[in-house]
Subunit: 549 residues, 2 copies
Amino acid sequence: MPTKPNNILFIMCDQLRWDYLSCYGHPHLQTPNIDALAKRGVRFTRANVQSPICGASRMSTYTGRYVQSHGAAWNGFPLKVGELTMGDYLRPLGMRTVLVGKTHMVADVEGMARLGVDPQSIIGVRVSECGFEPYERDDGLHAIGPEGRYDPQLPRYNRYLGDKGYDGDNPWHDWANAAAGDDHRLASGWAMRHARKPARVREEDSETPYMTRRALDFMREAGDAPWCLHLSYIKPHWPYVAPAPYNSLYGPGDVIAAVRSDGERRDPHPVYGAFMDHRVSRTFARDEVRAEVIPVYMGLIKQIDDQMGVLFREMEASGRLDDTVIVFTSDHGDYLGDHWLGEKDFFHEPSVKVPLIIADPSPAADATRGSICDELVEAIDLAPTFLHLAGGDPAQQTHRLEGRSLLPLIRGGPPPSWRRFTVSEYDYAMQPAAQKLNVAPADARLFMIADKRWKLIHAIGFRPMLFDLEADPDELHDLGAAADYSGECERLRAALAQWGLRQSQRTTRSDRQILNARGKSARRGILIGVWDESDVPAELWTAYDRRID
Amino acid sequence: MPTKPNNILFIMCDQLRWDYLSCYGHPHLQTPNIDALAKRGVRFTRANVQSPICGASRMSTYTGRYVQSHGAAWNGFPLKVGELTMGDYLRPLGMRTVLVGKTHMVADVEGMARLGVDPQSIIGVRVSECGFEPYERDDGLHAIGPEGRYDPQLPRYNRYLGDKGYDGDNPWHDWANAAAGDDHRLASGWAMRHARKPARVREEDSETPYMTRRALDFMREAGDAPWCLHLSYIKPHWPYVAPAPYNSLYGPGDVIAAVRSDGERRDPHPVYGAFMDHRVSRTFARDEVRAEVIPVYMGLIKQIDDQMGVLFREMEASGRLDDTVIVFTSDHGDYLGDHWLGEKDFFHEPSVKVPLIIADPSPAADATRGSICDELVEAIDLAPTFLHLAGGDPAQQTHRLEGRSLLPLIRGGPPPSWRRFTVSEYDYAMQPAAQKLNVAPADARLFMIADKRWKLIHAIGFRPMLFDLEADPDELHDLGAAADYSGECERLRAALAQWGLRQSQRTTRSDRQILNARGKSARRGILIGVWDESDVPAELWTAYDRRID
């Protein structure tokens, strides 16, 4: 890997479906700026997240490790102190790793206390912020209920809005995520019937342009030292509210039909059935909901695309397009009523597959510009890719990083052997489904394992689900109960079993250290199974041979 | 669990086979003091270690977690900072957790540096010493070779010997682990042909009595505060050298026949075959080696038993027998030529099974005194047992502790359901076998899964091995390649697959925390899937409803 760019701009959207971009084939939503990025880079068609939920997905992305390996299996489960993140890999190589936006990281306060790490110290902040230097941390979920705030941190964004004259204790909600309702009352974005009303905030002051400007602020201040900037938007994640004009750019006529069938509701897999029964699924099963929400979801994406235009133009002007690898992706998708589900949380393509575009300005990537890559790639591949871009050697970190560098796919043909299976996980212990099915927290876990054709969903304690992605690309026919397909189930289950037995915690010893240490203990005097001194070289006895009287 | 004793004395021998004690049936080796302990407590007949090698086994014992969970898979692989150990569970309950002897712990210096933990600080020492307060740390492996010391720490024991007039730079070797040879030269214990020669040290100054005295020193100094003392002997681990009279208490006539058959060497499983080819295996395959070494191995155990007599008499005199639960076990066994193998490292009973005796003075345990327990128990059960004894609730730690408290087996009948499978692991990446078989470090791993009758050994990349412990208690007939037994293999493989997918890293959130948190985010304002305000209780809207103009 010869050419080393200076910087990495790692853009993540939240809850952006893979197929809601025109370069991925959306028929009504034009995203010319993201499409242009794809023309400058490689567009991946089989990029999966490691868990279809914000927190777990992101912790996998930032650590380069599967959920079962890092353990932060759901939103709000702290990432344990000691897990390495992107910043831990990039910092020693001289690359700042900086955050603007969301991570959904919750600090392992108990673990830090046990180790005497002050959360306010430089190291403590690093541990608390998932390895990032928090230029601006904002998870974009400033909800308040009878028991208080969901996110105890007040965002800088609220101060920004206040300074601009937006009043109230929580302008994030009252202006950016609410509209004007009837009778001089707020129409909160938490009630989706208001989705198509315009947010009360001016477009320029809404979250997406604000975060774009914060990223540009950072770039201007950063100077010449190389950086990896994680620009992490909250949108198009709910509350589904957009400022004008994005609230009304699209209408019910632009909504593509839901991918679902009556067959899916007849005798579904018990876990799938329980997920269909979640409130959000029942809500999105209604056509009126889709007609109201999806146009705004599209508008929020359109706004992101426009902001990509702003961002890329500024970067072009400052020369940053020439020395910055740009990665564009999402943390998971959004069912939007497909398969009778809302939210994410399960493993159909609308949820587990994400857009992934990597544009690398180095000449080494010229050959792949504008191409698409159909290999099975995973969100955990980004950390090793960034390490690779920063001049590190991911092959020396395979005892920690479970993903693979994508550079060979970007700067050359596919490497000799790429992964044959992709794995994603979902912990539903926090969900009503676990309660309904009476599944204990430790067992409320789902595993997806898929190759390019077959997708198996393993639910502990239940039969598998199986989809033939070739014959049934819409995943409408669960073959997991059909005897004809028991061979496929067995094959994928065996691959999952092998995955489950992988080495994921031997993180204090690399393969190279092991190979280098093999057989060396004898040279430090440990002589095992030796009968006679002559069985081993004489030099090994030097410390043990002396005259006695 | 009503009665709470003050103290726990956790005695571990190193490399002590389960069957080299008279209470476990050895025909020639009488161990009356350990037998008496068994009469005062419960003797377990199916106690397995989590890995048949010192370091990995101990890290499992101290963390209460499988090797795949903690990652310190071999000797010298540091236990990662952040893993909780016995001390972390007992300290908050007011119980000191103290070490006299060996742990084989290697500190995660890199991890501590990353977190800014000073290895010399109280917390740093704790992390470095596996959670123990090191009253006396001594791994008993003070070997020296052309590249220096195996263990960089000089033992206090060397100073003790020096003060007693034993000369030289390393009296550990020159006096305690060497005999007088010919021509005024040392006969090093590292050459096993010298095994039956007496160590040059006086018996009272040899390692086992020294450590016993150190334990008694601690108990005298400890005062009334409750403690858990880990008295961890290096013997009967190699170098196989005993002081007089223990070097000559037994002779070749006391050596029981090797458990092995010619059939085992015909077309063995490739990994087993490669292990047979290790130098130590070839050495122990020779009858002259067994005849020389095993009598001394027995003598070293006899010395331990005599020291148990010293220890228990002193404890009786000081009242400690009345308020101290005593646990006696080993970190793994020793093949001693059985199955054509030396050392440990593989999964036949002489290696993976250990003696385990627990004597609990509380009246609650009166009913089980002198009984034996045939349940499948594991070394990882000790940490939750100790937590339980100290007044903690292991049920609240199942997200961290993978073992189960043995108290129900000691203070009552078996709990409603005990484990049906026991698992042990071995990482042979550091071994010549991996090189010979051309297996990459990450794949050089073996898993044993067994119930009370069947034992399967799963070697990544190879066929399984299978033993029928009922029909073939000596484990001489590997059925893993026989078509007749494919059903048993499949059943055990499926159980291993399920084990591999277990939740082991979600250590920052307990099951109880999850159950308590379920459905609570709405009360902090997160309203998912809500269409109309009336869909959820009005109180959830309080923070979102205001008058606007």
